[in-house]
């Protein structure tokens, strides 16, 4: 009989272990809900080379250079940001307005919506404040694939000739 009791106690312990693990899950009186939706975008082409640029100019990619393919299943927002300039030895300062060794990018596109870009070719959305997002497309409808473009605002003077690079990030999120 003692063995039976021991077996029951062991079973009890085995039951208690997963119960205690589960207690680390969502606190019982907290609610967590989510609707199954899918967020997916791709952008092509992935690059543009501004080549050799002159001071105080605004070379651009040409209107509609990039296309975002939006495969999301719900209305989305698309934000844009960049991580500043990086040169082999010397880097420009990433800021607006332009200055000595200081320049920035601006963008615009289609499907800007109420809070996004005002339209193709307007270059009205400065890509500024490193790692801060700016809304490019507001309430982008399912199946809408925006075209967009960028403009480089070059420094007013150059102190060095290092090639400058940056990474621009498009972030898609549910509206």
């Amino acid at each position: 009989m003692k063995r039976t009791i021991l077996a029951i106690m062991l079973a009890l312990a085995l039951v208690a272990i997963p119960v205690s693990s589960a207690l680390a899950q969502t606190t019982q009186d907290v609610t967590v809900t989510a609707t199954p939706t899918f967020i997916s975008i791709t952008n092509l082409p992935i690059s543009f080379d501004f080549d050799v640029v002159a001071v105080s100019t605004t070379p651009n990619t040409t209107t509609g250079w990039f296309t975002i393919t939006n495969d999301s299943s719900i209305t989305t927002d698309i934000n844009i940001k960049c991580n500043g300039w990086s040169g082999a030895v010397n880097s420009w300062t990433y800021a607006s307005p332009i200055g000595a060794d200081q320049g920035y990018l601006a963008a615009s596109g289609t499907f800007g919506g109420a809070g996004g870009s005002t339209g193709a070719g307007n270059y009205d959305k400065d890509i500024l404040l490193i790692n801060t997002d700016y809304l490019l497309c507001d309430d982008l409808a399912v199946g809408s694939d925006p075209d967009w473009e960028m403009e480089l605002n070059t420094p007013s003077s150059f102190s060095y000739g290092d090639e400058q690079t940056t990474t621009v990030t498009l972030t898609a999120s549910a509206s």
Binding site: I5, V30, V32, F38, T42, I46, D71, T169, T171
Partner: protein, 161 residues
Amino acid sequence: MKKLILLIAAVVALMLAGCPAASPPVVETLEPPPELYDKVWISPGKVNVGHFYAGARAEWPVTIHNGNDQPTEFSVTYKVPGSAEEGYVIAPEEAQDWIIIADPTPVLEAKETREVLIALVMPEGATAPAKKWEFWVAVRDVSQTGMVQTELACRWLVTMK
């Protein structure tokens, strides 16, 4: 002795019946459309947390699909939102200390779909940014090259008790 065994059995039954937290959260799923098979996607787009308070915990997985033809590493990170839902306040950078990401750098096989558990754990005594606040969880394919890259974000909307 039989009574004792019956008593223990009854206690076990009561424990099982009286511990709803033992059941993992039921995640409602939806089959992704076939055209997403070759794409990178995440799900869901929004997670709503209600009746939250300091000392509580909320969990929900973000599902990641690797539509690439080769194994791909992703980064899963806390992100300060670009904008917030109407009535919600953008969570400060410091709130990332309350977010636990089970696997911040998952490597997914080609066409693999995987869940990464996200937990919001607010320490007792901590002060919420507002009654309603928002943070994002960003997922990025780190194999991307080129000047323009993409990331996908899952929005977490938190309402305090």
